[in-house]
Amino acid sequence: MNRNRKIDFMINDKDKTEEYDVLVVGGGIAGEEAALNLANQGYKIIMVEKDLSIGGKMIHLSKVFPTLDCAACITTPKVSETARHSNITIYTYSEVKGINKLNGSGFMARVERKPRYVNEETCTGCQICEEKCPVFVQDQFQYDLVGRKAVYVPFSIANPRIATIDMDNCILCGACEKACPADAIDFTQEKEEIPIHIKSVILATGYKLFDPVVIERYGYGRFKNVVTAMQMERQLVPTRPYNNVLRPGDGKMPDNIAYVLCTGSRDATVGNPICSQVCCMYSTKQAQLLMGALPMADITIYFLHVRAFGKGFEEFYQQGRSMGVEFIKGKIGKITEKENGDLLVRYEDIREGVVKEAEHDMVVLSVGILPDIIPEDMFLKERPELDPFHYVMQVDELSNPAKTSMKGVFVAGAASGPMDIPDSILSAGAASSETATYLRRLS
């Protein structure tokens, strides 16, 4: 397919409309699992991912609880299986617009492909353009810990592993164009719209992380050594930016790290009264990994309740405790920064019933997860109902957990609620099963 064609979008232009059985929105672990299950049953799938690579959040994680195997080892084979499956067509850096239910014959929609300004077919991902590009910006895939160039391959295990020009920051100097040995840079690319006709939809739009900037008293954004758990996660992965765990303020190796659980979860004041289900465990996991990376460091986890509920989780929590991670039942009032960049954590020690202050040289906010809100324009008229927290509502949770209020539209993974990886995979299994049943009844 010529990916650079420009088409005038017309909904009744049958020749240009691509036909599929299932549209999977989102290429994270849930979307991949659902797509693979259906593709292996012979259904034709279109997967649309808004980011530059499939793999979702999982591909950015280090080791995962409670087994501590490396996330990349588990997810990259799924990513590449999805990418090369003959029944799956993937559009990355693309968005779904205007899903419209037709009378009795599925849905029409448009895939809006954003220009990469790089020819996907010819780019080899050699990164010579990156070397030549003079523009530095913060790297969103390293959660702003380090910089990248305006033309960049998103990350080393990205799929597709090709370059993109970030036009918001590009100065149009043309250095990349001159350097590219494959002649793949194309500043004339424009947005492209592809009409699609599908029989059913799986929403696997996942989650986004809570932005702790809104909790001013924690000082995130003002105090350099207050980071989010995802920023710490990135420091623990093999493709980590500093090849070591360092505090961002001055590059010192931290030796006294605090975790603040329930940051942005179970907190009505920030509009998210529910529990995020994963933060207790990922914090316990990071604490264990940190004890390996920084054997001399003290790790303290401030918690309200430790929710180690899944298979092997309680055992994993007890393992963390026995390794020497300190768990303090305490509510954080305020964090202040000292001149040397260390942090004073003021908290209520619930067991002792007193307010205390503790000094740490780095504070990790265990941020909760929020639904990645489905954009208004993804659906044209009818749209699936959301629950009070803006997750996709499950209308028959106890018998058909993937069913939504809209016939033919199903939900998988964290789009329906906070969920860890094993739960997301089972949820995607349910979504693919229910979708297959729906498709069989259609034919």
């Binding site: 299950n37 049953q41 995962v64 409670p66 087994t67 490396c70 990349a72 080892c73 588990i74 990259t76 084979p77 990513v79 590449s80 090369r84 991902g125 295990i157 799929n159 592993r161 093999p238 493709t239 009264p273 529910i274 529990c275 995020s276 309740h305 929710r307 180690a308 509920f309 899944g310 298979k311 092997g312 309680e314 055992e315 007890q318 039942k329 619930i350 067991r351 002792e352 629950d387 927290f389 499950q394 949770e397 106890l398 018998s399 058909n400 957990p401 609620g417 906070p418 990886i421 094993p422 739960d423 995979i425 089972l426 949820s427 299994g429 349910a430 693919s432 099963s433 229910e434 069989r440």
Partner: protein, 649 residues
């Protein structure tokens, strides 16, 4: 012999390269004769590396591949697929494990770990040199499944698989389906009743011609292997004719009630977790399906009293054994509630101490006012984590559903009856996700939460008529508080099913928590190491109903993918008999665990023959053969000897 070999040494991020000097390994093995190319890579399994390997194979005309990375359990098939895509026979690929068997095991000795890696990779290269091109064995598969357990998990999987065109044998030990869900009234978080959920599923099952439902049925034995299992099922008689359906038949219903009334046998009613009695003939609850009474085979004295009222009673029914032939099993045998020991929080010693499941039945049975043993109940105390998160005792795990379930029951009780006070004596409430809202609702209702540590467990005392629970409450600086309660509910967790022969018969491995174990929680969450045997629901780990259904739908879709194509591809790495050398002694059949070797005639003599569909390639038969007439394909003497030579040289 292969002499143009590509070798790839994976860093696995840093999992391997932190301890093994991968550059040194590469430099050493690239000197080996026959190695055309040796490289290191950050993630061998990443798509970009896979592409690179394929290009190398094509451009350099490689004839074999070795990847030194993690366990073949994880990625053997990933790289075999790379070989196929590159145009190589997948059996010209050998995976060397330098992670689980090297870097992780010897993280304290990096220099030695590097030496070991060199040895292992050299051995892998030596082995791949003698590799032979092989083709997988296709065996026919029956598109039929046996689902063990007709709780919500098994029923949901049955419906799904039957819809996909699979012949389903749904096997339930009890006379009624629905499992635990039929015993619950209101369910969180949808507040549907168990009856609604179970009846919805049951109606779909009886109207589906692809499903055969067996009640009072138990798996006796299993033979064969994936694609072609033969299972024996024992069915105990119901002693009631199958056409006795009470639904919409008032006359029959009245007759049944009279028959039940007339029965002189009284036994504990396990539907109510033994807080009430039932008769030997029974059908006491709306949520019991099929809507046909049953007679308890074990306890009935065959006195004939019930038969005076109910014509459908039929004592002529006999125990039966049926054999079914299926391609796969889905095991959905569920859980048992933890049964506290006598004296555990005064259980079975003080009468108003009950378990959470009993409490839930109590709420269901008491309409206007909550009473237990004829005494009004106003103050209810709940002690959490009974039988879960044990520090002494074998249940170290958290049972996942109980916090939410107990809070939900407490809310239900408060809404249903007047003046109820709830005291939750817990070890940290775990209402994860949206279930948090129930915790919040209960707190708003004025429920009291006290928290204890595993070091200071509450003490239950009986003072006259009163029940006093003493708690060292960590929320009030460990003050010792006393809760006076009319009823103490022990919030009991889930334990694996007692007396489950299923794991013995199907050989499903158990995890540390004694629940059935999946292969991998993320990669193969419903598969077991026994090919063709899937697990789902609470037999695998504590789950709530939604989570159970998700896993049962996942299992249905994986089982369907395996058996519905009519054939299953099996590994060609099986035993092979050399007919010239074999002179039939029978030693091999005696040690074969899979019944895969039989005697045949060959050129006027008797020799052994291997059944391709049954042989697992375990190699048990090789060492017992006096004549050395058996070879294991893919692990021939030549391959293994050269492997060992390289390892020790």
């Amino acid at each position: 012999m292969k002499n143009n070999i590509g070798v790839y040494i994976c860093q696995c991020g840093s999992n391997i390269s932190d301890y093994v000097d991968v550059e040194k390994v590469r430099d050493e093995v690239s000197k080996i004769e026959g190695v055309a190319i040796a490289k290191t890579t950050m993630f061998a399994c990443a798509d970009s590396t896979q592409k690179e390997i394929i290009e190398d194979v094509r451009n350099k005309k490689l004839d074999a591949m070795v990847v030194a990375s993690c366990s073949p359990k994880l990625h053997l098939f990933t790289f075999r697929n790379v070989a196929i895509r590159a145009g190589l026979n997948p059996y010209h690929y050998v995976q060397v494990n330098i992670r689980e068997q090297d870097s992780w095991a010897h993280s304290d000795h990096p220099a030695e770990a590097t030496l070991k890696a060199i040895g292992l990779v050299s051995a892998g290269i030596a082995r791949v040199k003698h590799s032979k091109a092989l083709k997988s064995i296709d065996i026919p598969s029956r598109n039929a499944v046996a689902i063990l357990g007709a709780g919500v998990s098994g029923m949901r999987a049955a419906i799904e698989m039957a819809d996909m065109g699979t012949e389903v044998h749904l096997i339930e030990r009890e006379h009624f389906v629905g499992g635990r869900t039929s015993q619950w009234s209101q369910l969180f978080t949808t507040r549907q009743s168990g009856e609604e959920v179970v009846s919805g599923l049951y109606n779909k099952i009886i109207n589906n011609e692809n499903i055969s439902l067996y009640t009072g049925a138990e798996l006796l034995s299993m033979k064969g292997s994936v694609g072609d299992f033969k299972a024996k099922i024992r069915i105990i008689p119901r002693y009631i004719k199958a056409d006795c359906i009470l639904k919409d038949n008032q006359e029959l219903l009245n007759a049944t009630l009279k028959a039940i009334n007339a029965c002189p046998v009284e036994i504990s009613d396990d539907f109510n977790f033994n807080i009430t009695k039932r008769k030997a003939i029974y059908k006491n609850y709306h949520s019991e399906f099929p809507e046909c009474p049953a007679i308890d085979y074990e306890h009935c004295t065959k006195c004939g009293e019930c038969a005076k009222y109910l014509d459908a009673v039929d004592f002529e029914q006999k125990e039966q054994e049926v054999e079914i032939n299926v391609g796969a099993f889905v095991v959905a045998t569920g859980f048992d509630p933890y049964e506290p020991e006598k004296g555990e929080y005064a259980y079975a010693e003080v009468e108003n101490v009950i378990t959470l499941p009993q409490f839930k039945r109590l709420i269901e049975m008491n309409e206007k006012e909550l009473t237990y043993r004829n005494k009004a109940v106003k103050n209810i105390a709940y002690i959490y984590c009974v039988g879960s998160r044990q520090t002494e005792g074998k249940n170290n795990y958290c049972s996942r559903y109980c916090c939410t379930s107990a809070i939900h029951a407490a809310i239900h009780a408060r809404n249903k009856y007047r003046d109820i006070n709830n005291f939750h004596i817990n070890r940290g409430i775990r209402t994860y996700g949206k279930q948090e809202l129930l915790y919040e609702e209960s707190s708003r209702n004025g429920d009291i939460y006290l928290q204890f540590d595993e070091e200071n467990i509450p003490v239950v005392e009986k003072q006259g008529e009163k029940l006093i629970i003493k708690v060292k409450d960590i929320l009030t600086q460990e003050k010792e508080l006393e809760v006076e309660a009319d009823l103490l509910v022990l919030v009991t967790g889930m334990v694996p099913r007692k007396h489950s022969k299923v794991s013995d018969i199907l050989k499903i491995p158990l995890g540390r928590d004694h629940f059935f174990n999946e292969i991998h929680p993320k990669l193969k969450p419903v598969e077991t190491v026994i090919d063709g045997v899937f697990i789902c629901g609470a037999c695998q780990a504590p789950f709530n109903i939604t989570e159970t259904i998700k896993s049962s739908l996942s299992a249905a879709s994986k089982a369907n993918a395996l058996i519905s194509k009519g054939k299953i591809e099996l590994e060609p790495t099986i035993a092979e008999i050399n007919p010239e050398q074999c002179s039939w002694c029978g030693a091999c059949t005696e040690v074969c665990l899979y019944d895969a070797i039989r005697k045949i005639g060959h050129n006027g003599k008797e020799i052994a023959e291997v059944d391709e569909s049954k042989c697992k390639g375990c190699g048990m038969c090789l060492p017992v053969c006096d004549q050395n007439a058996i070879n294991l394909i893919g692990y021939t003497d030549k391959e293994i000897e050269s492997f060992i030579d390289a390892l020790i040289s």
